[in-house]
C-alpha cells in the first residue's frame, strides 16, 4: 500500500506545495531585508532554515507523531526550498572580484553558522519532544 501510485503522488504534491510556500517566503524575506547584493537575506534564510530543518525532523515529528506526508511537506518541501545553495554559491562568485573579503565572510558565516544552527535546532527539538513523555 505504501508504494502505490496515489500514495507517491500525495507525497510529491505535499513537497510541491511546501516548496512553493518556502520559495515565496525566501523571496519575500529577501525583499524585506533588502541588503547590499542580498547577501544578508540569503544568510538569514539559510541559517534559519538549518535550525528549522532539524527542529522539524526531530522535534515536531517526536512531539506530534506527524504522518509522513506532513513531514515531507514541511521539511523537504518548505524548509528545503526556503534555503538555497545555488544563490549562496552564485552570490559568492559574483562578489569575489569586487569585494573578496566580504564574500569570504559571507561564505564562512553561512557554512559555520549552518553547522551551529543545525545542532541548535536539534537541542530545541529534544526539549519539545521530551515534554510529552
Amino acid at each position: 500500500m505504501k508504494n502505490n501510485g496515489w500514495y507517491r503522488l500525495g507525497q510529491v504534491s505535499a513537497v510541491f506545495c511546501g516548496g512553493a510556500l518556502g520559495g515565496i517566503s525566501r523571496y519575500e524575506i529577501g525583499n524585506w531585508i533588502h541588503s547590499a547584493n542580498g547577501l544578508l537575506g540569503t544568510s538569514v534564510v539559510n541559517l534559519l532554515g538549518c535550525f528549522l530543518l532539524t527542529f522539524t525532523i526531530y522535534g515536531l515529528d517526536l512531539r506530534f507523531d506527524l504522518p509522513e506526508w506532513q513531514i515531507l511537506g514541511l521539511g523537504t518541501g518548505f524548509v528545503g526550498a526556503f534555503t538555497t545553495f545555488s544563490t549562496f554559491t552564485l552570490q559568492f562568485v559574483q562578489g569575489i572580484s569586487n569585494n573578496p573579503l566580504g564574500s569570504l565572510i559571507f561564505l564562512l558565516v553561512n557554512l559555520i553558522g549552518g553547522m551551529l544552527c543545525v545542532p541548535l535546532g536539534y537541542l530545541a527539538a529534544t526539549r519539545v519532544g521530551r515534554r510529552q513523555r
Partner: protein
C-alpha cells in the same frame, strides 16, 4: 502578486524534482548523500548559466529564484553533514562539507563561462 506566483510555481517544481532525485539516491546509497551533492552542483551550474544569459525579469524570477532556489538546498546540506558527524564518519563529513562547496563554486563559474561563450 504575479511575481509571487512565478516564484512559488518554480520553487514547487524545483522541490518536487529534488525529492524525486533524493528518493532515487537513497536506493543507490542510504548513508552517503550523493543525491544532495548532485542537486546542489547541478543547481549551482544552472544558476550561473541563467544569470549569465541575462533573462527577462519574469523568467529570472521563475527559473532562478524559483526553480534553482527551490531545487537546491542549504539546510539539507548542513543536516547531512551533521548526521555524518553524529555517526562518527568525520572524514566523510569533512569531504562532503568542503567538497560540495568547492564543486558548487566551480559549477557556478562553469555556468557563467558557458553563457558567455555560447
Amino acid at each position: 502578486m504575479t511575481t509571487m506566483i512565478w516564484v512559488g510555481l518554480g520553487a514547487g517544481l524545483g522541490a518536487a524534482c529534488r525529492y524525486g532525485i533524493t528518493v532515487l539516491g537513497k536506493l543507490v546509497s542510504p548513508t552517503i548523500p550523493y543525491a544532495t551533492i548532485l542537486i546542489n552542483v547541478i543547481g549551482s551550474f544552472l544558476a550561473g548559466w541563467l544569470t549569465g544569459s541575462q533573462l527577462p525579469g519574469t523568467w529570472a524570477l521563475f527559473l532562478l529564484t524559483g526553480v534553482c532556489g527551490g531545487f537546491t538546498t542549504f539546510s539539507t546540506f548542513s543536516v547531512d553533514t551533521f548526521v555524518l558527524v553524529r555517526n562518527r564518519r568525520y572524514l566523510l563529513a569533512g569531504w562532503y562539507w568542503c567538497g560540495t562547496v568547492v564543486l558548487g563554486v566551480l559549477a557556478v563559474v562553469s555556468g557563467l563561462w558557458l553563457s558567455m561563450h555560447s
